[in-house]
Amino acid sequence: MTTTWAAIVISAAGVAVSAAVVVTNVFAVRRAARTQLQIARDQRISDRQSDTYIDLLQWVRGIEADKRDVNILDLAEMLKLPDDLDVRTTAFASKAVRQRVKEFVDARWRLQQKVERDRVRILALIGEALKAKDDAALQAGFPEWPAMAQAAAALRDSIRRELLGDDLA
């Protein structure tokens, strides 16, 4: 009788272990599939994010390089992100980068307002800086100018940190 019970218990234990192995394997297979999907998804998002960031850097560089004395309407047009880039920025850029883009645009607007208010004084400062080959006085009297460069540098730094960290947040 005891031998029969022992056989039953051992068989039940064997069945339990087999069931546990099957369940674990099912989970392992699911986890493997999920990981592959996750890697593919990371790749896709990261590629799009990277393209978006490169285009944003290019856009900022273009605005910095444009030294024309533009009016407010032209500036508004210039500071508007191209539609495609605007959509991609909303979709793939992090909150921090979007904030830096906004700060850069604000800095450019402040620069414009200052130029329109104090055009004569600023032109005089530029003239002095060119003559003296020293722009310290220009930077001190016209802080909106270095502020825009600082905003651009902050945006570049933010993008670089994310891309090197490949942050998909």
């Binding site: 546990a20 990981t35 890697i39 990277s50 960031y53 560089r61 993008i159 090197l164």
Partner: protein, 170 residues
Amino acid sequence: MASGLLTNWQGARRDKRRYKHEREIAREARYQERLDQAYIALGEYLSRFGDWARSVHPFLGPVPAPDPLQPGERWHIEALVTAYGSEEVQRLLDRWGECAQRIENADIVIRMASESRDPGALDQEALREKHALEDYRKAMQDAADAIRSQIRRELAPVASHRPQRPELEA
């Protein structure tokens, strides 16, 4: 039974670690590919500017200048290097930019003097710049070679000069 469950549990943990590792490898491969692209574009950019430097008032005969690089193309390459290039490459690139700027300035002075009806003092400066051009070109070439060497070191199979990645600094 206990041994079976333990083996399964350990297997599950091993799988988790392997998958995490796989994701890290995929991320690293992605990063490496972008770094390669950025540095290849930078190499082409340097070669093109090298051709341009050789064409600026050459010592012997006219040397044809390469087609000018469109601003958009230049900004794209700058953006790639800003995003992925190491700090060392960016530092070397700044130094190279100063050398290129010197050649550009010399070119402007020489042109202005040759186009001016009354060159006067400008002529002296133009002559000085013309003599200095070979040194400027050499400095730019050396700066470009330093960038190429750094790129080679970073892209080598066992890279010891990789750009600092934020998560690796932590």
